[in-house]
Symmetry: C3
Subunit: 460 residues, 3 copies
Amino acid sequence: MSVRAIVLAAGKGTRMRSDRSKVVFPVAGRPIIWWVAAAVMDAGVDEVIVVVGHGGEDVEAALPDGVMTVVQDQQLGTAHAATTALAAMGDTSDDTVLVIPGDSPLITADTLRNLLAEHADGDARCTLLTAVAPDPTGYGRVIRVGDRVRGIVEEDDADEAQREIQEVAVSTYVFEGAGLVETLADIGNDNEQGEYYLPDAIAAMASEGGVAAVAGADPQEVQGVNTHEQLAAADAAMRRRINAEWMEAGVWMQDPASVYVDASVRLTAGVRLYSGTHLEGDTSVGSDSEIGPNTVVRDSQIGSGCKVWFSVVRGAEIADGVEIGPYASLRPGTLMADSTKVGTFVEIKATSLGKGSKVPHLSYIGDASIGEGSNIGAGTITCNYDGFKKHRTVIGDRVFIGSDTMLVAPVEIGDDAYTGAGSVITKDVAEGALAVERSSQKELPGYAERRARLAESEGE
Amino acid sequence: MSVRAIVLAAGKGTRMRSDRSKVVFPVAGRPIIWWVAAAVMDAGVDEVIVVVGHGGEDVEAALPDGVMTVVQDQQLGTAHAATTALAAMGDTSDDTVLVIPGDSPLITADTLRNLLAEHADGDARCTLLTAVAPDPTGYGRVIRVGDRVRGIVEEDDADEAQREIQEVAVSTYVFEGAGLVETLADIGNDNEQGEYYLPDAIAAMASEGGVAAVAGADPQEVQGVNTHEQLAAADAAMRRRINAEWMEAGVWMQDPASVYVDASVRLTAGVRLYSGTHLEGDTSVGSDSEIGPNTVVRDSQIGSGCKVWFSVVRGAEIADGVEIGPYASLRPGTLMADSTKVGTFVEIKATSLGKGSKVPHLSYIGDASIGEGSNIGAGTITCNYDGFKKHRTVIGDRVFIGSDTMLVAPVEIGDDAYTGAGSVITKDVAEGALAVERSSQKELPGYAERRARLAESEGE
Amino acid sequence: MSVRAIVLAAGKGTRMRSDRSKVVFPVAGRPIIWWVAAAVMDAGVDEVIVVVGHGGEDVEAALPDGVMTVVQDQQLGTAHAATTALAAMGDTSDDTVLVIPGDSPLITADTLRNLLAEHADGDARCTLLTAVAPDPTGYGRVIRVGDRVRGIVEEDDADEAQREIQEVAVSTYVFEGAGLVETLADIGNDNEQGEYYLPDAIAAMASEGGVAAVAGADPQEVQGVNTHEQLAAADAAMRRRINAEWMEAGVWMQDPASVYVDASVRLTAGVRLYSGTHLEGDTSVGSDSEIGPNTVVRDSQIGSGCKVWFSVVRGAEIADGVEIGPYASLRPGTLMADSTKVGTFVEIKATSLGKGSKVPHLSYIGDASIGEGSNIGAGTITCNYDGFKKHRTVIGDRVFIGSDTMLVAPVEIGDDAYTGAGSVITKDVAEGALAVERSSQKELPGYAERRARLAESEGE
């Protein structure tokens, strides 16, 4: 006897006005369907199968590992979708079957675990998950007799007394596998759309007294995403949930409403996040580091005691005590050792900085390795691209690169070497040497006066 | 018989602490009075006249086309303002006259249309717009007898039972033109301010049973703006309204609360807007383009499949598949063809980029035209200003500008040409040629050691 | 007879997961304890003493001037803390003693002033501050008999009727000094923690009919900060309070929810603040200046009619009519006279700009003085650091620095002088002269063709 789950995700969601399935839109950096499948798995379900529509590759790609899919080629309704999944599952007669919509990213494993436990404790053929909604308008009301559900009445069919009922159905059910296939086979499609609906199966079971209900869910938790407005609301709610967890773990946030932390991010007590901070993908931040305001960090590991502000950091490994910004762009392959600094209007790509090295201003450093304790002057550029290939620049320890130095790669600057300001360095520089490429300064006296006369004669 | 509207906008709004009229402050990129006038026109009114105060040029300039103004030189109250407008309108005895305050930017055409329709269907001399306020404190309560209004009781004059009334007057009225001028002439100014008040005209008509009311308005919709706090609230509400419309049309927003889209902007299904995005003025964005975070786009047309982030874009024409940022500034006259790229720390002004051309890093390109497939090295600057005039730079197709090239305009670089890194290019470069301005690299060995000795002897 | 206050701040606040005391965390740029002490002082108290825990130096450092501290070495409860403070105060038998927790930054002087006045007007030995909480769950309920408090019942001890009481105690009390020390000495520590609790003293006094209560506080005002989530909520509430005051004073805010103004900042009517603006520390902004979006201004004075956007400004003095940004970084020691401009991708440090001078693009100017009416070309760098020392650059009036000029300090450029683009200037330039460091431009025709052949032969 095992617990198996069917997640219904075949609908497109036309109000999203997109060719993609609505369940692949992101909430806190992960697809809607990922959240649902993860909650289901976390609730202790043995097998999860997601029913996708025609061309459901985008949904498949969005799932966590270990989740199967089955294609419902024609959109013949939720009961048909469940039947399709059951056919793919094989014999479920000894099993418990959870059926849940794939568009409610806020559903929690706790809620599902509780639903499954209540079902297991009872003797109903089906146990509904319900929510108590302050405003139930539009939802199907749950009609109870004692502890059994007599039926679900849709808004349009409800009388005045029924409309007062606040307990509503949320399209999430647990069934005994035995007989489920048969019940589904018995229901008809005698409706306007000509589709087979799961609530008809519930109605059939309810008429025999076989349906119980658990009023467990927070209405927000079971809110499906059908529109971009609902998607944004779900994202905000998930953000509040994630941020609350990190704050409880000791993370300071200047304004949690404008701090965007993906579910995949790992933080540490003592981290400080300013407003407009986006932490995305496979990112971690060590204690006493301060990020933001107005900073994106994606797929990067940041150590302790760092300050990163007004910057964009992607695919970087940052050690401890590092300063980045304001206005730095770090691209993949950036490695910054302890106590390094990348300052203002500096872009770094595929480059390692050894301990204590600094690139304070207005530089582009790509495809380079820089040793320890080196200082890269303002306006330095690694000319790494010759129009055909990228080449590497190697800079040693304690090097002083003068301002506006062009390092025409491939080129190597030895330890303790210097370059003069404004030099184009095309040849390797020996240890401890000074390399300069420069003419002598000439002066034309009285130039301003001549220009002024010229301008006058030209009528400027 | 036509419908004519009087918009009252003569008050300064002292709590704004500004020399400007409060009705010219912006809501979603348009003046408050613009919104009111536009809603009135959209409701099917034939003529709109706005009553402005002394020095009301700022209000005039803020109005949509087709709206007239009349000046109320002395601030003698709302009835006097209405009388001033009626005098300017000529004979209104066969007309319907809508009177509405000019400081409620959230009022909708639907609400006004409904008010006008209800008035037309009835036989009242005046029909009030009212709102049902959860907390009516401070507002004039509407006293009804049957379907007629017996009067409006101000907070201070209300007894306890009247204070419980939640239906409040919102200073918006429809009158039968016939007799309106006379009624207004009859009311006095026997009050502390010595002003003539419109509600006194309502009271006169109500005492004769001539006033009806339509409880149509959302309280927020009719909220006047008297303070900066109310202005910010109105702006936020308008932002929610605009964003909800775009989301319904298929636009994804990471955090609608921090997405600022002017009313004049045109978007497309599939557009993605990250937090901190400001779209202003005459701006449009094509499908599958992604803007933000932290980006301003003003008066610019952006095609499909573009990515613009951490950037400021003004007066630019951007084709399809274009990448901008992070940290780019595009100024007016920027034209970017398909598949072009302007990268990090790059400023562009009055410059066209041909298909596939790229300016990836740390450049200032102004007053230039760049052909197709050209690559502009990091640190390139068009020296377009000689202290007197701006000059143009012309770069051909498939050109490779080396890093740190100074292009001293006027100058022309032929197709397929190259420039060496660090060169100052003052003369035209022929097709396919390499132009270099550079000395030879010299090396002083043992420089580090000598400096160290020198520093020591200087006691550093 | 004077009024003396004891602020209890010995607890660490373990849920902050920090080594620092929770009361030193910032709210609107000032420590929590600062706000409490300031409100107490502002309420007209003669002496304030803060009880800090072991190692409370961080709390001491966070206090306003004129506030004393006493150390409670062992955490033996609030009554023990009060006793410790009373011992340090000497004879208080003729005084009124206010006792208040140090973790409620939103408490106002008005509330405390009212509490003290009510106490002075009555004859109670103790007057409690209470709040009426919509949801009192978890708080101690105030049991009144007539105008006296019979006791405070904790949640766990409350019967059903008592749980309905919405008036709750908020740990803030005024005592008659006479007998207070004795009462505190009488209470025991017969509880799980073995600590001495102030509410036990209240209970003792209440049993003798000596306790009154003032239901004066807004529940939010007295909310203690125990978690990062509560800290963020307090910060948001303080931000709303500060922003509301500035808006009432005539400051326009695009989106007050994302405008961060420290309590120490001074603004002027007519200032406009865009979203994502952070004004910090000792900062002032003059009328008609516009700041943001996405800008930090810290410890800087900004005059009138300025525009500062997408920039970071620290320790700068900015006169009138100045433009900064987008993407500028101003560091301490920046002085900008009237009508100066620092543009895009420009960093300024310890530099003065004379009237009308401009640094429009891509420059680093440090340790320099620039006269009036000078124009600094794009790509200019002051090479102020030679690896050992910083040196100064002096630029005169009406100077035209060509693009990409390296100014190797110490160096001086005379009035009306010019430098050629791409020059490294190592020697002083005379008034009106043109200084150039440049080779002649050479051209290799047919280079593109040769490269293509080469690439082909290399198999690229």
